[in-house]
């Protein structure tokens, strides 16, 4: 088992194939290729770390300095899959930022309203209910974005099971019970 020990505080780390975490941390990194791991730690500018390798009773501690002796060319031999993954995420981020900004030089008037306000004004004009954005407390858990742009699905048939139950009666009964509870 390979354990990564980061002593530096205050970093928010996102390693491939793992849920993001905050430092200081002690985590199992056996499933992450070592070169990817060192590269990621370099990117996050983390200096205070060591990797502990445990095999049975044997325990070897690799300090950061020793690990960085790995030649630059070895670091470049990253798994194709991870390179693709990083590229994909960078593209997604780029598109998100593009979508958030309206290029100033293209707009005829510098509108001093944000997109949401404009949407509400138009909705009022069209007598549509205005959807208010509710302030949601920021979730601690990182939920990856869903983006299937550019992906295609070709589907053949699914297994089909014929419905044998009359679910409508059960739904009526449940609805009555739930109403009583209220």
């Amino acid at each position: 088992m390979l354990t990564l020990k980061i002593t530096e505080k205050g970093h928010y780390i996102d390693l491939p194939g793992m849920a993001p975490f905050r430092t200081p941390a002690n985590i199992n990194v056996s499933k992450i290729p070592l070169n990817v791991l060192i590269l990621k730690l370099k990117v996050y500018d983390i200096h205070g770390y060591e990797i502990v390798s445990e095999l049975g009773d044997q325990k070897i501690v690799y300090k950061k300095e020793e690990l960085e002796k790995i030649k630059e060319k070895d670091l470049n031999k990253m798994d194709k899959k991870y390179v693709k993954h990083f590229d994909k995420r960078l593209n997604k981020l780029e598109n998100m930022i593009k979508g958030m900004t309206i290029p100033q030089e293209k707009s005829e008037v510098n509108i001093n309203l944000d997109k949401e306000q404009i949407k509400n004004v138009i909705a009022e004009m069209l007598d549509q209910p205005i959807k208010k954005e509710v302030d949601v407390e920021e979730d601690e858990i990182f939920i990856p974005p869903v983006n299937t742009t550019g992906m295609k699905l070709k589907s053949s048939e699914h297994t089909i099971i014929k419905q044998q139950e009359n679910l409508e009666d059960s739904a009526d009964l449940l609805s009555e019970i739930q109403k009583e509870k209220k």
Partner: protein, 355 residues
Amino acid sequence: MTELINMVDEMVEKKDKPKSKVLCLSIDIGTMNIVCARSDSNDIKMTRNVFLELDPEIVNISELTDISYVEGDEGEIFIIGEDAFKFANIFNQKVSRPIEKGLISPKEISAIDVLTLMIKDIIGEVRDKEVYCSFSIPAEAIDENRSVSYHENVFARILGSFGINYTSVNEAMAIIYSECAKEKFSGLAISFGAGMANVCLSFKGIEALKFSTARAGDWIDKQTAESLNIIPNRVTSLKEKHIDLSTPLGGKGRNKKDNLVLQALYHFYESLINYTIKKIIKEFEEKVDIEIDDSLPVVISGGTSLPKGFLELFKSVLNRYELPFEISEIRQAKNPLVAVANGLLVRTMSDVKNK
């Protein structure tokens, strides 16, 4: 400016459209299968929750006729569903399972995007409809420290991206909705799936106790394989073809070696049931405050409860214990593979009625 014009056009178009029809949906996202039921159809759709990434240099897309697959934005090919197993055997690869022990796997980088398309495909057409959906989530496991919140939020985000109104519902509670209407939604439901066993005690439609354990069908296969030093796939294959729990021999295989595997499987089925019942008693004693005077039915469901003789084995193990409430009946769900999806649909329809 163009963006604004498009936005206005879109909103005017929406205003002119006739009011959409309400559609109720359910999606049971399990370790082994994804099952979807719709209020406008008598067909319940089911697909294997697995995929296999293939090197596009090995396989040409034009060769994949009658095969379900996803083509990634960089030309990657993911064979999805049952076909993934066939290709895994051909190319001697291991299939990827987006769900591991009942929860979304953090190991699979491509899992969420592929799962999104698989779910979109199984749901089918929802255009111009106001769609409401309940999806299944497991309860927190008492024997493993894994959070359900991440799993729940990922599926909420997937359904939200299709413009669907969603609610998450506990998997075992869904069995109560589908199987215990005659008891006014009171009962103890146990869903023996592939990755987890989910338990829920409901009293008149209120969840009194819910939990899950990380021991279920995959655990049986793994333990059997480790005990006899054989690969788990071989155990799974024998289990699916020959297991018969009405005899302690576990059924009859083709040879002596198969028979040994079947006997081991019987032992671990019994051990799984024992473990789950012990946990039910312990959790009830520690967490349930209410006195239950009525006798309640025990309903068992899930793919692991499918083998011949499972219900009888369950009854005989349960007889060794005294549950903290009276049991009126021990029965199996009418169709253990679709009981959760049906229960979720009952819940969606009920919620829509009460809107």
